[in-house]
Symmetry: C2
Subunit: 238 residues, 2 copies
DNA sequence: TTATGCCAACATGCATGCAAGTTGGCATAC
DNA sequence: GTATGCCAACTTGCATGCATGTTGGCATAA
């Protein structure tokens, strides 16, 4: 998903379609497997074995693994196989700071647009927030999680900064398992909806400082609820 | 330079030393060549040729190029060679937003420490700022640039977030050429020193919001001076 | 029982060969 | 002179072989 295109470059130049390569396939398959815990963290795999399982030779697997390492999802131990990365509480702290930084700046940028732009953004974000609210009333946790993800994705993407989008994407992949795990444990779904509305309001008002502050509040509260939860679970890593 | 270690993971786990591989060598050499413009942007190289020049086979070069692509420094055109990425004004805009986001959050974190930590950070930052001031008085532009780089590097590194450090490092690599070019054109060196002092003061006061604001001011002013400069040079890319 | 050391199995690093896609230029037709 | 089409040269994608580093277990000795 969206990982087909190359890295840099602010769009614009003609998108040369990349024919699907085995490397891309391996990258996607491995990432998927890691995200849905088919490869549990701490698992010690070998490129040979992965290659066999995916029906290709070691080369494309090796290259895919390099990319996954760059993404922080695995670690290549020279001549000792690849290790699926676990997430320590300290990683979660780091990840939240990155999110706060990037989403905060995105919110500032969004609140700094002309009226028409702000209204369009606010409408899009409000739609996702409404979906969250409804999912909450239905008690539909997965739907709530998806709508929440869409809200935050839109928040960053609408800022129109490809690098920020990419950073958030990478960070989201890293923290995917944590989100899945904690979705079931969270009590503050209602608070999230309210905070989202506050963010939207600040954007609509065209008040960058307030938008930034509301994003900070939202993410830091969520983090401060999440970390003790992980601790109480005795999870030193996940 | 600090690119030897793997990606993720908040330090802590024992550092298994990686024996230097040809891939690492190729990565470092290529990056260096790109940063100092031995490979000019837009240059169309072939892996074969690079391999020959570095005295190794295509394989390690290919893998190094993958990493450079992940860093946004080159683009691999399938079966048509590798393209050294240029920087468009829009890229510069994106880059500054990322810097503002990350450095801003770093400054907040620094200002949120207990007294001792803040004072240590402030002292370190003040030392670099003093070096800038002296370099300015001597008219020593390169020294000014190095001290400025050290200031901003310390600002982020002292926040103790490996992911933020890595993001800034990547972004710095991407914008290296722009910095080198514009160092000669800048007039506002004195203003930078003053703004650095304001950032330090806010951190020392323990006022996160103010520290964030001062970083914003500093970077956005610099950006707004830089962009017209690039435009007036008629540089559509560099 | 415990400690030591050797070794076979195994993992990746790297080189190289072959397959397939892309390009630029030359020959040809008009 | 201009347009068309074909082909040779070139480039990467991928498979595979060999070299080398790592490991866990078994045999051996204390």
């Amino acid at each position: 998903m969206a990982r087909t295109r190359a890295a840099g470059h602010a769009a614009k130049d003609q998108d040369i379609e990349k024919s699907p390569s085995l490397v891309d396939g391996a990258y996607a398959a491995l990432k998927q497997a890691i995200l849905d815990s088919s490869f549990a963290p701490g698992y010690h795999a070998s490129e040979q074995e992965i290659a066999l399982r995916l029906g290709m030779s070691r080369t494309p697997v090796h290259e895919a693994v390099i990319r996954l390492q760059e993404d922080g999802l695995v670690r290549v131990l020279s001549r000792r196989g690849v290790l699926i990365c676990a997430l320590a509480p300290d990683d979660v702290r780091e990840i939240y700071d990155v999110i706060v930084a990037i989403e905060g700046r995105a919110a500032e940028l969004l609140a700094d647009q002309p009226d028409a732009g702000r209204e369009a953004v606010a409408a899009a974000l409000a739609a996702e927030t409404e979906a969250m609210s409804q999912a909450w009333r239905r008690g539909d946790l997965p739907a709530w999680g998806l709508a929440d993800a869409r809200f935050h994705k839109a928040l960053v993407e609408r800022a129109g900064n490809g690098r920020m989008t990419r950073i958030i994407q990478t960070i989201n992949d890293q923290s995917h398992r944590a989100r899945m795990l904690t979705l079931k444990l969270r009590r503050e779904l209602e608070a999230s909806v309210e905070e989202h509305r506050a963010i939207i309001a600040a954007i609509l008002e065209g008040d960058p400082a307030k938008a930034l502050a509301r994003v900070h509040d939202h993410r830091l509260r969520a983090r401060d609820e999440l970390l003790p939860l992980l601790d109480s679970f005795g999870l030193k890593h996940l």
